[in-house]
């Protein structure tokens, strides 16, 4: 990966400054990051955990 692409993915370089091959690669990265975000495990802390912590520190 070229430094310019990293800089773009870091938010330090606008996509317009990339050449076409790197724009295509940036698009691929956007899709991959989106797949990480949409498939990431999510969930609030279970309600019993607060009581467990409070019991343990008593």
């Amino acid at each position: 990966m070229k430094d310019e692409l990293h800089r773009h993915l870091d938010g330090d370089m606008p996509v317009e400054e990339l050449g076409q091959p790197q724009r295509d690669e940036a698009d691929e990265w956007d899709r991959m990051v989106a797949s990480f975000r949409t498939t990431a495990p999510k969930g609030a802390m279970p309600p019993w955990l607060e009581q467990n912590v409070m019991s343990e520190i008593e």
Partner: protein, 202 residues
């Protein structure tokens, strides 16, 4: 019990115990001070304020809800025991996050030694009502999270914080006690490694 006067709508005032004041009314710094002064129940406010954030990160690092809950509990108990060493009480949330993040990295190292892969564990976490979509989603999850699981714990943490949780470099660097330049290098290496791994799996 300490009593605090709270201005009422009229000229009169009402008194509430510290632990009855809502989280909105007490800053982190005040809560830390109260806990250190002996009001253990005040720690509950920090658990409520930061529990979900800590749990979300632990879940993304481990891919297992039981392990995530165990890590969060250990982090919060450790945080209570070491609270006096928190040098910036106004940033106690970041301090607790750092404790959890270190526990998560240790856990990832240990899980790797025991050959437990997030790519195999994660698929059952987010099932829906459409079996076909679930199967396709499970395959994607298995592939992308399996690749992430092959990174070093530090690279995985950096990538998760930056790209999955969407935090800024400045925020991550402050929490992880790293320079932004070092952190960027870590994320760059994670990207390079991931690209190679995903090409391999394709």
């Amino acid at each position: 019990m300490e009593r605090v006067a709270v201005p009422n709508a009229g000229a009169a005032t009402i008194s509430l115990s510290c632990s009855m004041l809502s989280s909105v009314e007490r800053t982190d710094e005040q809560v830390v001070r109260d806990v250190l002064a002996g009001d253990r129940d005040a720690y509950r406010l920090l658990v409520r304020r930061y529990g979900d954030t800590l749990h979300g990160h632990a879940l993304r690092m481990t891919g297992n809800s039981d392990e995530a809950a165990d890590l969060v509990q250990r982090a919060l108990v450790k945080g209570f025991k070491k609270l006096r060493s928190c040098r910036e009480p106004e940033r106690v949330g970041a301090w607790l996050f750092r404790i959890l993040a270190n526990l998560c990295k240790d856990h990832v190292r240990s899980a790797r030694r025991n050959d437990i892969s997030l790519g195999r564990v994660a698929p059952h976490l987010a099932g829906g009502s459409d079996p076909e979509a679930d199967a396709a989603g499970a395959e994607i999850r298995s592939r992308v999270w399996g690749a992430l699981d092959a990174l070093t714990p530090e690279q995985k943490e950096a990538f998760v914080l930056k790209h999955v949780e969407g935090r800024s470099y400045e925020e991550i660097a402050a929490v992880m006690d790293l320079s932004v330049a070092s952190l960027k290098m870590r994320v760059h290496r994670a990207r390079e490694a991931l690209r190679g791994l995903l090409e391999e799996y394709a």
